[in-house]
């Protein structure tokens, strides 16, 4: 599982929660098959040998809950909890600033960014992303989209594509640490807020970001139905995705 020899840090984003309901109703702290949603991600990440640092970004009001969950459910992993920002982009920037000194000293080569609401990640996918990011600068998992139709402004179907070059992007996403830090520093200077990590690195650096085949099981918990499905996937995999 450690072909590159890269020194890697992983950032798990758990700062969301829907501003209308407050951070205390954040879905990443819901129970899922005996553990909290976010614990599944952290456990998968902690099984990747080259990941030396794990950072969890949380809302200030969730810190106590996050500490209790880590102590109870992920006791063997060393996870640093830091406060996130008002947006995903701001949370990523906070995490990068937390890692900045180590990146500049060359103690971290690659940073993996993961959404805490995607609990079903396999360590093998994380390893593949790290390998590709080490080679080219950035790697993003995605699933191909087929049966795509183009619709005009009046909802009329313009064109259909059985196969398309579009992919549905997932996390984790892996990047060269120095390029990522440079991109977010430049974004902060310009006041740019990216929709995801890749969009920021694409805008502010010349790094190549390559697509890696994603995993259908790596679903983002969005609807209640997703929780039922995630429970079934975990049960079918013996509670350990490979």
């Amino acid at each position: 599982m450690k072909p590159t020899g890269a020194k890697v840090a992983a950032v798990v984003l758990a700062g969301g929660g829907g501003t209308r309901f407050g951070g205390s109703h954040n879905k990443v702290y819901l129970p899922l098959a005996g553990r909290r949603v976010v614990s599944w991600s952290l456990m998968a990440i902690s099984r990747v040998p080259c990941i030396a640092r794990i950072v969890l970004t949380v809302r200030p009001e969730d810190r106590g809950l996050a500490e209790e969950i880590l102590d109870r459910e992920v006791p063997d992993a060393t996870v640093t909890i830091i406060e996130g920002g008002d947006s995903r982009h701001a949370s990523e920037y906070n995490a990068l600033r937390h890692l900045e000194a180590d990146v500049r000293r060359g103690e971290i080569d690659i940073v993996v960014i993961h959404d805490g609401a995607r609990p079903l990640i396999a360590p093998s996918l994380i390893c593949e992303l790290i390998d590709v990011a080490h080679d080219v600068g950035g790697a993003v998992p995605g699933l191909p989209i087929s049966d795509v139709a183009e619709v005009d402004g009046e909802s009329r179907i313009r064109d259909r594509f059985k196969e398309s070059s579009l992919v549905r992007v997932q996390t984790p996403q892996a990047f060269d640490a120095r390029l990522l830090l440079a991109a977010y520093t430049a974004a902060a200077a310009e006041g740019f807020t990216g929709s995801d990590t890749s969009s920021c690195i694409e805008r502010f650096t010349d790094a190549v970001v390559k697509h890696v085949p994603g995993d259908e099981r790596n679903l983002k918990l969005t609807y209640p139905q997703d929780l039922f499905l995630a429970e079934q996937i975990l049960a079918a995999s013996g509670y350990s995705l490979q």
């Binding site: 829907g18 209308r20 109703h25 954040n26 702290y29 106590g64 809950l65 209790e68 609807y223 209640p224």
Partner: protein, 127 residues
């Protein structure tokens, strides 16, 4: 821990997307032990439920697994935080049976509902 995150071991609330409201709404999620039993949108009332027969089987399987692994988990906790473990033990002895009853409520509720419907059907058939 924020008080409103977990007011019972089997009921949680979180913002999730509702297929009816087509927006992120507060949902109430009921668990039977470690198994998600049902989710209700607190805005429109849309319910997503675990199949009842399957839920009972899954719950009993899970309960058996939890009882089997409980001693191991207790030892691990005692080793990690001995003082905290001993401090919490008296309260756990009192509250654990109550929390087990609380978590089984969705199952008891569904059994009671089935019994009620069966009784009504028998009444209608003059049995």
């Amino acid at each position: 821990m924020p008080a409103d995150v977990r007011w019972s071991d089997s009921v949680y609330r979180a913002g999730l997307m509702c297929r009816v409201c087509r927006d992120v709404e507060l949902h109430e999620l009921r668990y039977a032990g470690r198994i998600l039993a049902a989710s209700t949108c607190l805005r429109c009332g849309a319910v997503v439920k675990h199949d009842e027969g399957d839920l009972r089987k899954a719950y009993l399987r899970d309960l058996e697994s939890r009882l089997r692994t409980k001693p191991h988990r207790m030892v691990k906790r005692a080793v990690r935080h001995p003082a905290k473990f001993i401090g919490h033990l008296p309260s756990a002895i009192i509250h654990k049976p109550l929390s087990l009853l609380e978590e089984a409520k969705p199952l008891v509720g569904s059994l009671a509902e089935r019994a009620r419907l069966l009784g009504r059907a028998n009444q209608a058939r003059g049995l």
